[in-house]
Amino acid sequence: MSAVPLQPPRRLIEMTVDGQEVRVPEGATVLDACAAAGKDIPTLCHGDTLTPKNACRVCVVEVEGSRTLAPACSRRAEPGMVVGTATERARHSRKVVLELLASSTDLSTTPRAAEWIGEYGARPDRFGPEAATVAQPPKVDNDLYVRDYAKCILCYKCVDACGEQWQNTFAIAVAGRGFDAVISTEHDAPLTDSACVYCGNCVEVCPTGALSFKSEFDMRAAGEWDEPRQTQTTTICSYCGVGCNLTLHVQDNRIVKVSSPHDNPVTRGNLCIKGRFGYQHVQNVGPSDG
């Protein structure tokens, strides 16, 4: 009887990325191979804790012998594969994807979006002022987190995190078709009338800031959100004996947001309502003590 089941040994696959030889373990993705080759491929719908959804298409690369461009985040690496990350076709495709997304969606809080738009020469305004958008007012229906679907690129990560991949609560799903598709609770009810348990595991994976802590949303609205001034410290939750790792985002000695390390063996990036939002008690100080 073996004490601990060993991981089966993984063979290394040899392939070429932009003319450079790389070796990645069997089962790795093309995105992993690109990272191994030091290539910086943009991604939006890819999540390190989630199964690839192939929704956004911003990570496409050219694979020799393949008729269509391949999404790097989900395409498995194969022996002898020849990948081009910066071919004319791949760059053009990324540019159009960014133009379509940025013309219809508010990417102002999407990390690196502006950088990529510059890098690929994307012109989101080229569709003119009449271009369709998903603009709508943010949904603020509870004190913990805000849903600002004007920023939603329909990557499905929140649905997967809420559903069978992690939380298994199924409070949200995709409603509608085509351009009118939206992430919605059942019957578009307010969160407070939905199955939501406020774990915030959807906020954790949201790539654009469409889902955000109410604390972050309010501070942004007041012009006080200042990420470069924030510190991030990983500690342990104080609410039960499971030992979840919390990363506290602190600005001016106040906790403004809580995330969890995605590679942590206890949480894998997930928390419950108490870990995610239950920090307020340490910073409730009476008015006289300021």
Binding site: W166, N168, N270, D289
Partner: protein, 641 residues
């Protein structure tokens, strides 16, 4: 119906001392002098055992180490305990009696890689949500899950089978499972012969518990008991997990032993994927015990009665240690009532609201000559103190480590400065020690940890550096160069008897129904527990605006609500033999007729623990929070017609 929110607690930002009967603001020097003077006075007058210390299961390992050292070295008593008494002390007592170690035997990852998961008395979906995500991974990978619980909880909703037993009938159910396994010839004879002792007597003792007899007592259909027995015994790997549904009973250690018996019978312990997991309720209740903040163990869970162990600590600490066990929390409270314990130092605990039969607890604390409370809030317990010392919140305002339910020691880091004049727990303890003639000084938590590592073999290999690099290390970790397997007691599977070590004994147990009997005056069974968004006495969780929070309610089955003629939201009176409270009705179809559920999260609105009974487990001292007899009365007479 809208209920008012529980009151919000503000942080303590400066020390308080009692003068002319009221607490007033004081400077640190005055407060520390007063605190130390009271301890000195009482120890001089009545001896060191007049002192009792309640250490904090929410604070760091380092703080707990220093706190127990304070009791043992500065004062000279083993009277040190923590709230682990109110939850999992029976798990520690049961596991250490059988295996010699009080920790859960498995890791979270193993529950994903197992074939059968039994969640016994555990509402983990709501009480331990992230552990339950590992259970859900296991279920999605094909594991069968059985939920054993009087209530159809969130956990039960994910189960293949829900065994809704009557409160306090865990031993008959476990015995029937055992008997069925033996009669079907499904017990692991090789393991039983090699690694256990007392099988024949055990098998004879469960013989009366036929499936039919158990069905009568537990209320669980015979077919379901049989199915659980066969699934558990036939599984290649199986995990048995439990929470307070097992341990908050007057015979809790027996309950734990009844579950361990099943693992011994089937060989579901000591292998990857097979094990026993008590899910701990507080962030460092495992660590507090590991650090010796319990009356019978020194740091590293080493028995205080062992002369060799004691000698090593006496040498290291340069102080004599009492060669006897101290008082546990339950005994401390009794001793306060008898005038034997006259001074108490409470760090971060709120016994006034967390203990069963809370009115009695207030009376006993009121008899103390000198009470010092160190906390982050002015709790109901702190309001009774002579000196209140404001502390930092361990989890985000101090450096150190916590130990979780899978024995994983993880680093706690300081992210923010404590408010006002609040200070780190260890700094406060050292200030008091200095005033009592012990010139202690630690340059930070790591120095405390390194002192502990020299004294506790189970922690010896856990440097702060390694803890950070490896995202925590599970004990035991005796060497800085290697890691042990993630599960305990692999030795039981060794073929060489010398390496196998002490055989694991079966326990012969008797069924003992809840102490608080049901009768015509108190016909309903009240059981208590947690909700997803709240925590214990609510002092912490009242601080954030949870959209799920609805305040305290009394949850009734639809049948009982109809019989009583009450509707959701209606306020009713709930009365036990000890106290009486008023709460609004919430109807929960997950409750069976005769069963009533309340939480302990809103004691400032509804003091549920004035209803519960202080019938305690004689081995571990845990009270029977899970089984009180109550009556529910309408406040207004039913309208005619």
């Amino acid at each position: 119906m809208k209920r008012r929110r529980a009151e919000r607690y503000d942080r303590l930002t400066h020390p308080l001392v009692r003068e002319d009967g009221v607490l007033r603001r004081a400077g640190w020097e005055e407060a520390l002098d007063r605190a130390a003077e009271g301890f000195r006075r009482n120890a001089a007058r009545h001896g060191p055992d007049a002192f009792a210390m309640l250490s904090c299961a929410r604070s760091t390992n380092e703080m707990n180490y220093v706190a127990q050292k304070f009791a043992r070295v500065v004062v000279g008593t083993n009277n040190v305990d923590s709230c682990n008494r109110t939850c999992h002390a029976p798990s520690v007592a049961g596991l250490s009696a059988v295996f010699g170690s009080g920790g859960g035997t498995s890791s979270y990852q193993e529950v994903e890689d197992t074939d059968v998961i039994v969640m016994w008395g555990s509402a983990a979906r709501d009480a331990h949500p992230i552990f339950f995500q590992h259970v859900l991974k296991g279920i999605r990978k094909g594991a069968r899950m059985f939920a054993v619980d009087p209530r159809r909880t969130g956990t039960a909703r994910w189960a293949d089978r829900w065994l809704g037993l009557n409160v306090g009938t865990d031993i008959p159910l476990a015995h029937a499972v055992a008997r069925e396994i033996v009669h079907a010839g499904l017990h692991n004879t090789a393991f039983v012969e090699r690694a256990t002792e007392g099988f024949a007597e055990f098998a004879a003792s469960v013989e009366p518990w036929t499936l039919q007899a158990a069905e009568q007592v537990t209320g669980v259909p015979a077919g379901a008991i049989r199915e659980l027995a066969h699934a558990y015994a036939r599984a290649d790997r199986a995990q048995l997990c439990w929470t307070l549904g097992i341990t908050e009973h007057h015979n809790a250690t027996d309950n734990v032993r009844a579950l361990i018996n099943l693992a011994l019978l089937t060989g579901h312990v000591g292998r990857y994927g097979s094990g026993l997991s008590p899910l701990r309720g507080q962030n460092n209740v495992q660590g507090g015990g590991d650090m010796g903040a319990i009356p019978n163990r020194l740091p590293g869970f080493q028995d205080i009665l062992e002369p060799a162990v004691r000698a090593r600590f006496e040498q290291a600490w340069q102080a004599p240690l009492q060669p006897r066990y101290g008082l546990n929390l339950t005994e401390m409270l009794e001793a306060m009532g008898e005038g034997k314990v006259t001074t108490c130092y409470i760090v971060g605990e709120n016994p006034v609201q967390s203990e069963a039969d809370s009115l009695n607890c207030v009376k006993r604390l009121g008899m103390l000559d000198h009470l010092v409370v160190q906390d982050i809030f002015l709790t109901k317990t702190a309001l009774m103190a002579d000196v209140v010392l404001p502390a930092g919140a361990a989890w985000c305002e101090s450096e150190g480590t916590f130990t979780n339910s899978e024995r994983r020691v993880q680093r706690v880091r300081k992210a923010i400065e404590p408010p006002g004049e609040a200070r780190d727990d260890i700094v406060i303890l050292c200030e008091l020690a200095r005033r009592l003639g012990h010139d202690w000084h630690y340059d930070g938590a790591e120095e405390v940890w390194d002192e502990l590592r020299r004294l506790s073999p189970a922690h010896a290999g856990m440097t702060y550096r390694r803890l950070a690099d490896l995202q925590g290390i599970q004990w035991p970790c005796p060497s800085e160069d290697s890691l042990e397997p993630p599960f305990l007691h692999g030795r039981l599977w060794e073929t060489d008897p010398a390496r196998r070590g002490r055989a694991a004994p079966f326990a012969i147990l008797r069924h003992s129904p809840p102490v608080d009997l049901l009768d015509d005056d108190y016909p309903l069974r009240l059981t208590t527990g947690r909700r997803l968004d709240s925590y214990n006495t609510g002092v912490q969780s009242s601080g954030f605006a949870s959209p799920l929070r609805r305040g305290e309610t009394v949850e009734l089955s639809p049948e009982d609500a109809a019989r009583l003629g009450v509707v959701p939201g209606e306020e009713v009176r709930i009365t036990s033999r000890r106290g009486s409270v008023v709460a609004p009705v919430f109807v929960d179809p997950g409750l069976r007729p005769g069963l009533v559920f309340m939480t302990m999260h809103f004691p400032d609105e509804v003091d549920t623990n004035s209803l519960t009974i202080e019938a305690t487990c004689p081995i571990a001292g845990t009270a029977e929070f899970k089984a009180a007899a109550v009556r529910v009365d309408r406040l207004v007479p039913a309208k005619a017609g």
